[in-house]
Amino acid sequence: MVTGLGLISPLGNTVEETWEGLIAGRSGAAPIQRFDPAELDVRFACEVKNFDPTEHMDRKEAKRADLFAQYAIAAADQALRSAGLGDGLVNPKRTGVLIGSGIGGIWTFEEQCKLYLQKGPRRVSPFFIPMFIPDMASGLISMRTGAQGPNYCTVSACASSAHALGEAFKLIQSGAADMMITGGAEAAVTPLSIAGFSNMKALSTRNDEPEKACKPFDADRDGFVMGDGASVLILENLKSALDRGATIHGEIIGYGMSADAYHMTQPPESGEGARLAMEVCLADAELSPNDVEYINSHGTATPHGDIAESVAAKELFGEHAQDLIMNSTKSMTGHLLGAAGGLEFTICLLVMNNGIIPPTINNHNPDPLCCGLNCAPNVAVERDVSVSLTNSFGFGGHNVSLAVRKFEG
């Protein structure tokens, strides 16, 4: 059961603001503010805006946490408060933390690398390693909350937080924990990271119109838009949720994983790995393809990725593919890399609880190779949804599909 939600996103630093942005079809993309991007080929991104870490932690804590971990802490605070756990956990020894991150503290890495090269090894901060390693978000959240249950980090590029949620779900199902604080965090809008993704030709280069740059399932798409932020959820078993009278936002009912076994950064156009992850997920959830009404796609707007995912859905869902909606909220939030899965899982819950599916914006010239699926182009769609899937695929060929069901009591 999901009983708490927290978001720091390019559309707003709360769940409510993010949701308003999504259903209004607002883009979070803008010229990069965190540093001067003049030298880069790609000079825009979906950055988090107006984030003040000292609203969530003291100055000293903020100073020794990389931005990705600060986002995670802030989102975890929101999630715990929304779950009615703002004053403390019910059973710390039975509560775990599992926050995925694709890259971890790359801002810290770059700063310390510069120091090493310019000033020598003695100037490298003793906090370099603890700030850089991607598992530190989970560690810091346990220290703040006292959660002493399972604690680690999943790293699978853009599938990191989808793996985190899936693993957290299984830890609860297996009885290893009663409650998990789980999700993902990323703060990879940095010069080195943008240069790397840009040289892979993975990013959209529409510097002149950032808001229109991300075009999932559109024939004119030219890559993804980097985003940053964090999504943290509180998962707990039904008994724990009912015992404390918690509000239940929905339930995670299936977890499917697969590998493409194909290429470092590209999926096969057959979408075979993506399809396998969805199939395994449906089997785990004991669902038939016809039960699925909404898919929050991986949909990053890369030329190959969108086709592979569309083909996978078309083949798996057959005629039913025309009835369901498969949108890409990345058209608005950008791609939060390791934090994307958690954000999009949260969006599935919001869709089911509000009866509204956010649009895929910037979709004016649908790509016929994307199989004519309904992506809710440009305008939100009112629709009752009881069962959703969300897909996350990472470089390395890691695929995750999660199934979510509306909680009917």
């Binding site: 003291d58 100073k63 003695r122 003793p126 906090f127 603890p130």
Partner: protein
């Protein structure tokens, strides 16, 4: 208070995130100002940077209080 004292206290306030009035001469970095072992390493590095000096590890280990740091740096800087 000398210029050096002022700079040292500023560094301690900044690095350890403590209130200025807590930074008394007899205050211990670890016991009174909440520093852990990593903080003390970073603090010494900040002194090295500010005053452009090298503080060897065996000398850094002896700097346990604000007063220790002030005396050491005054001596080192010949002020």
């Amino acid at each position: 208070m000398s210029d050096l004292d002022e700079k040292v206290i500023n560094i301690i306030v900044e690095e350890l995130g403590v209130e200025r009035d807590k930074v008394a001469k007899d205050a211990s970095f670890m016991e009174d100002l909440g520093a852990d072992s990593l903080d003390t390493v970073e603090l010494v590095m900040a002194f090295e940077k500010e005053f452009d000096v090298d503080i060897p590890d065996e000398e850094a280990e002896k700097l346990r209080t604000v007063g220790d740091a002030l005396n050491y740096l005054h001596e080192k800087m010949g002020s």
